[in-house]
Symmetry: C2
Subunit: 351 residues, 2 copies
DNA sequence: CTGAAAGCGCTAACAA
DNA sequence: TTGTTAGCGCTTTCAG
């Protein structure tokens, strides 16, 4: 017979009943079996190359051994290491990962979550980016264990793992203030994203704490976290605020756009204007100038997220953990002291 | 009752037999049902919020609706867009993606494939990197439809989708020769990887075709496709071959290492030595100098791989397609004419 | 065209 | 401790 061996085949070969064979193969079980039968069964299983059918098992046990991982856009460089950490950790726990990319689309997100529920995922790890999501909010308090990574949902009490962006941004502002900057602007992405709010709030707080009144915190929002958006925002911003000596971008891509716009305007970085990013994407340390940015251990973040989910799988009841993994300020060449004090308009005018 | 509705619930509500309900809900079936009953059943299903249980269905139909995607290392920047293309295409075809990262480990690869088979994946897309693999070879001719992406297996007849690296490398060498280079070296990664061989062979052929005898094709292998390996290889290579005016690297990371080593040796790129990479990773166009490299539509590659798999799923019999998606030479600032002819040793000596 | 019944492979009650 | 039995939810023969 060409079909793959079933537990009945194993049982037959071992001369026992299928039920017994099942118990023998199941490691931790209260009603154990004799060591001799266990050996016989294992032997038979090995000889036959028996692999249990997870489908049949799922149907019976109502546990699929599968976790759904939902990302907004896998081509965002922060995500792959996170997904890798998740996958590795879950694999070691005997769980497989279904991956879906929502392309930042709410309908797609809803469809993915529905599909993953239908497929009997035991848990969900959700990294999609918006601050609000009817789909994800609906999971809060439900019976499908869910962990948010990198994003937070307004008013949600779901467990959540992210980098401690606030500390990173604060360290960055501190660094700029230490260098002597007093006119610092923040260029960031859409206010609808969880990341935007966290970082922006941290920026405003840091400015208020370190430089006094809030009115010095200049913040501009772009349409997306891209090089283009960073470039455009910088161009239009430079038209209004020439006194600025340091620009913090919401992520590295925007910082790159910012650098390009400054260069195009004939300004040097960091001599005329300092620039910093966030995320420490691959290669930003190889740019000219190398980018000062906020880094975090991306893969560890994924590992932690998976561990939190494993905790929820064991007990979905206890209060949700909200964990932040540490960030680190990476100082590189794109930040330096502000231009030596001269009449401000002259000091920052394009060459 | 709190449990989710089954087909029997739907059938009861519609006043028909479960079997009939099943048929009514199944779109294309030979033995159809009356339009009126079909409507009743759909109505009942909608009211109950019925979702078929894929586990039970799988058990019965022996089709899981899941395919396995095996990657060597998701943090390699070429992979995420490919995986995204795969996921999107399969999602549209109603298939879900199980993702596993082997961390370039053969045992892990074997375990993953076994696990995916056990989980009743309908097909596999394998992107792991080595030229030989007992595990993957074993899939050849088996009943699990498998598509290789980005890699090839020696002597395998499995369907395979990759970028047309050979054309890209050839275009690159042509470009360098057109610029006037005659001493061109190739620095690449481990010979055990599929990618290494394809590109290296193309390089040797191009050199032989365009510059004559093979002895001018200088090739060095490093331990990995990393910045470090590129740097080390360049350092040791420069010790031996000062006449070289152009260096082609096996991928962009090595090219970056190469640039660093040249800079450290006081050489300018492209004035003293031209450098080129392969893959067009994010940001390599933003480096100083911007890197000349070989690009391909990564996401499309993933889409094509998924489409080929869908073809195999429909008919695993017909001969395996071996498809190459086009590459494009992206000329940027890191390549230029060789130094003006002077005594060779002087022309390439560090400043 | 629809109802009846069997069974995918496994595990968890219950009995012996 | 082991065998027995039932059944997870679905589809698909086979009758009617």
């Amino acid at each position: 017979l060409a079909r793959r061996p079933t537990i009945s085949d194993v049982a037959a070969r071992a001369g026992v009943h299928p039920g017994t064979a099942s118990r023998a193969l199941n490691p931790a079980l209260p009603g154990r079996v004799t060591e001799t039968t266990a050996r016989k069964v294992r032997e038979a299983a090995r000889e036959l190359g028996y692999l249990p059918d997870p489908t049949a098992r799922s149907l019976r046990t109502r546990r699929s051994g599968v976790v759904g991982v939902v990302v907004p856009d896998l081509t965002n460089p922060v995500l792959p290491p996170i997904v890798r950490g998740i996958e590795e950790t879950l694999w070691d726990a005997g769980l497989a990962c279904l991956l879906a990319d929502t392309d930042n689309d709410v309908d797609r997100e809803a469809a993915v979550v529905a599909e993953f529920q239908a497929r009997r995922c035991e848990g969900l790890i959700v990294a999609t980016a918006t601050r609000t999501s009817a789909t994800v909010s609906g999971l809060d308090g439900g019976d499908l264990p869910t962990v948010l990574v990198t994003r937070d949902i307004d008013g949600s009490s779901l467990p959540f793992v992210a980098a401690d962006d606030a500390s990173g941004v604060r360290a960055l502002v501190q660094h700029l203030v230490d260098l002597g900057h007093v006119r610092i602007a923040y260029l960031t992405g859409p206010a609808s994203l969880s990341t935007t709010l966290t970082r922006e709030t941290a920026f405003r707080n840091a400015i208020a704490d370190l430089l006094g009144p809030d009115d010095q915190a200049v913040v501009r929002h772009g349409a997306s976290f891209t090089i283009d958006a960073g470039r455009r925002l910088t161009q239009q911003f430079r038209g209004e605020r020439r006194a600025t000596t340091a620009i913090v971008a919401g992520n590295d891509m925007m910082a790159i756009g910012c650098l390009e716009a400054l260069t195009a305007a004939g300004l040097r970085c960091p001599q005329d204007v300092s620039v910093a990013g966030h995320n420490d994407m691959p290669l930003v340390g190889k740019l000219q100038p190398p980018l000062t940015t906020v880094a975090f251990a991306q893969q560890s973040l994924g590992v932690r997220a998976a561990q939190v989910l494993l905790g929820r799988l064991a007990d979905n009841g206890h209060p949700a953990e909200r964990e932040l993994v540490p960030t680190e300020l990476v100082v590189r060449g794109s930040t330096g002291p502000p231009p030596t004090p001269r009449p401000v308009t002259a000091a920052t005018r394009p060459a």
